[in-house]
Amino acid sequence: MELKLTNLTKEFKDITAVRNISYTMSTGVYGLLGVNGAGKTTLMRMLCTLLKPSGGSITWNGADIFEMDGEYRKILGYLPQDFGFYPDFTVYDYLMYTASIKGLRPVTAKQRIKILLRQVGMEKTAHKKMKKLSGGMKRRVGIAQAMLGNPQILILDEPTAGLDPSERVRFRNLISELADERLVLLSTHIVSDIEYIAGEILLMKAGEIRAAGTSRELIAEMPEQVWSVAAAKEEIDFYMQAYKVSNIKTTRQGAELRIISSDKPAECAVLEEATLEDLFLDYFGERTGEQNDEI
């Protein structure tokens, strides 16, 4: 089992969305982390044969996936970022239809659907129309749909986007459950999602993979350190401009700043253990989606 990307590039008219990516994946969960517009979706669309690369190649066990055609798509499950469906179909009809285009026999399809509906907790809503489902329910049908063919490669584009925190936790657990014995690639701009489920993290920026490794490896490789600084109100602006500040906690005297820097920013600065959040900020120079959500 080997999915190999070689010099993969995708150019649109005025922009290079994916730039010269070479990377190899096998069984396990891979988390693709990047800000909006980093090229995550474009990369995934190419992996799903929806878009033809402008350059480079993608091979599965040595064979070009575009030449494999149906044979490749047979082992593929995909949950798109903007998961679309047939609004007037019931959940059950939708899954039966999707099973048919995935080449499942009706008998097999019925069994799979029953199992998956239970797994995603949708047994009771099977005969509801798709358009009447809540956002979370739609995502769950999306996951079920991707899992129908029991795929060896499972690609999930921001599977937790738009879900409330408790739903997100449930979803993470579900994905971990399903990840067994497969290659799972999921994208997100929410760090905590990936921290929990991804074995391998790919940091993507401006169409390139800037770093890859386990969470621990990446943090260890981080060139800078993380400091905690207690600053007075009037000092905050100075720190904000001079350093990368990953977090600000206001206190009675001023604020407690979390600063990423190779040298000690102040006398009183205390060395902290770096997290994936800090790493994200270090790479992307901006605060993560999750924090933005909370502001």
């Binding site: 903007d82 998961f83 009706p106």
Partner: protein, 415 residues
């Protein structure tokens, strides 16, 4: 294997009809069909007291009156009709000013009404002339010229007004076709067929507009619904799923079209009767000048077949447009444009333009009318009218569209 594929097609059809707007479109179709049938069945008959009857009473009255004159339209019969018409015109009732009296006179003529119209055509001053009162001025001696006049008027027209419109071979062909009509004609009551012919174009075009709406989204709705990503990344997404869409288009057109025509034909013929199905179309004055020697039933089959080929062609054309533009909106416009634009060009009226117009797909939707046009084409050294040409032409074009549609859709990039 088979089961899976047909299941896919069934779901494709279901995608079409699950939409509320599609259900409304079908209801609209049924509603307008109902109105059309109402008009098609609107027959009146005037009884001997001069009062107008409607409904089934009118049908049976008219049928009985015309059946009295059923039989061979030979010289003898023509003479009788001319005499009878003159007798009626000279009765005090016909000459009276009173409306009721006039209506009574009219009631006597209902049995020969259709033959009287044939006389108006046969003895007209020219092929393109029609004078409603002409029959009243005929005498019994004229009867002998009834059939001879038909060819004579054609010849005069071809040598005069239409001299430059046809080649010598084409002129010969038309005269030959006229000569091949079996004489004497047979006359019978055939109101059912006449009404069927009259409203068939409305029914076909209406069906086409609704069909265009139904099928325009079969391919492009996947983009609108954003369901394309899952579809095109699935095992059959770039092959059998595409075929099943084509099959679904075929099924929707065929099912809706045959349902519409079963209802329309059934209602009209049950109500007005199937009498006259095997009579030559020329025994109705509407088709007196027609050069195709076919029966009423054959004409109706042409109308149904032409309409079906037309609907299939336009439906697949609209699907192709929807794929090329990734949107159902311009696709829905395709049948609308095809139906309405030719009627604007038609006003130019030059023979060359007529020949082009004769080949446009809207002609298939009104095949009954197309039979009446003197548009000739030579295909492989043989001269023929427009209807056989467009039937074959658009069958071929439809078959040509299918692989283009398939290949264009299966190569779609989803980004």
């Amino acid at each position: 294997m088979k089961e899976r594929v047909s299941k896919m097609t069934r779901y494709e059809v279901k995608k079409v009809f699950a939409k509320t707007s599609s259900k409304i479109a079908v209801m609209l179709l049924l509603f307008v069909m109902g109105i059309t049938c109402f008009f098609a069945l609107d027959i009146t008959y005037v009884d001997e007291n001069g009062s107008t009857r409607e409904g089934l009473a009118a049908v049976s009255g008219l049928k009985a009156a015309q059946k009295e004159w059923a039989g061979c339209l030979d010289e003898e019969k023509i003479r009788k009709v001319i005499a009878e018409n003159r007798r009626i015109q000279n009765t005090p009732e016909a000459l009276a000013q009173d409306i009721t009296q006039k209506e009574i006179a009219y009631s006597w003529g209902q049995g020969i009404k259709e033959i009287r119209n044939l006389l108006n055509c046969a003895y007209a001053k020219g092929l393109r002339e029609y004078d409603y009162y002409l029959a009243d001025s005929l005498t019994e001696e004229d009867a002998a010229d009834f059939y001879r006049n038909r060819t004579r008027l054609l010849r005069e027209w071809l040598e005069g007004e239409a001299k430059d419109q046809f080649t010598d071979e084409e002129k010969e062909y038309l005269i030959g076709q006229y000569g091949r009509m079996d004489t004497p004609l047979y006359y019978d009551y055939m109101e059912g067929w006449q009404q069927l012919f009259k409203f068939a174009p409305t029914v076909v075009m209406l069906t086409m507009l609704i069909l265009g709406y139904l099928v325009a989204g079969i391919f492009s709705n996947e983009f609108a619904w954003r369901s394309d990503a899952v579809l095109f990344s699935s095992f059959y997404g770039r092959n059998k799923a595409v075929t099943s869409k084509i099959k679904a288009g075929f099924c929707v057109v065929t099912a809706v079209y045959s349902a519409v025509f079963t209802i329309y034909t059934g209602i009209v013929l049950l109500y007005l009767g199937t009498d006259g199905w095997n009579l030559p179309i020329q025994s109705s004055w509407i088709s007196w000048k027609c050069f195709y020697n076919i029966t009423n039933l054959q004409k109706y089959l042409f109308i149904i077949g032409g309409g079906y080929v037309g609907c299939l062609f336009l439906s697949f054309l609209s699907m192709l447009v929807s794929v090329k533009t990734r949107s159902a909106v311009p696709a829905v416009m395709v049948p609308v444009l095809v139906i309405f634009i030719p009627s604007f060009i038609a006003n130019i009226g030059s023979p060359f333009v007529n020949k082009i117009i004769g080949l446009l797909p809207d002609q298939l939707l009104q095949a009954g009318e197309a039979l009446n046009y003197f548009n000739l084409y030579s295909v492989g050294g043989r001269i023929t009218g427009e209807l056989p040409v467009i039937l074959i032409l658009y069958t071929i074009l439809t078959i040509v569209i299918l692989p283009v549609l398939y290949q264009t859709y299966r190569r779609m990039q989803i980004g």
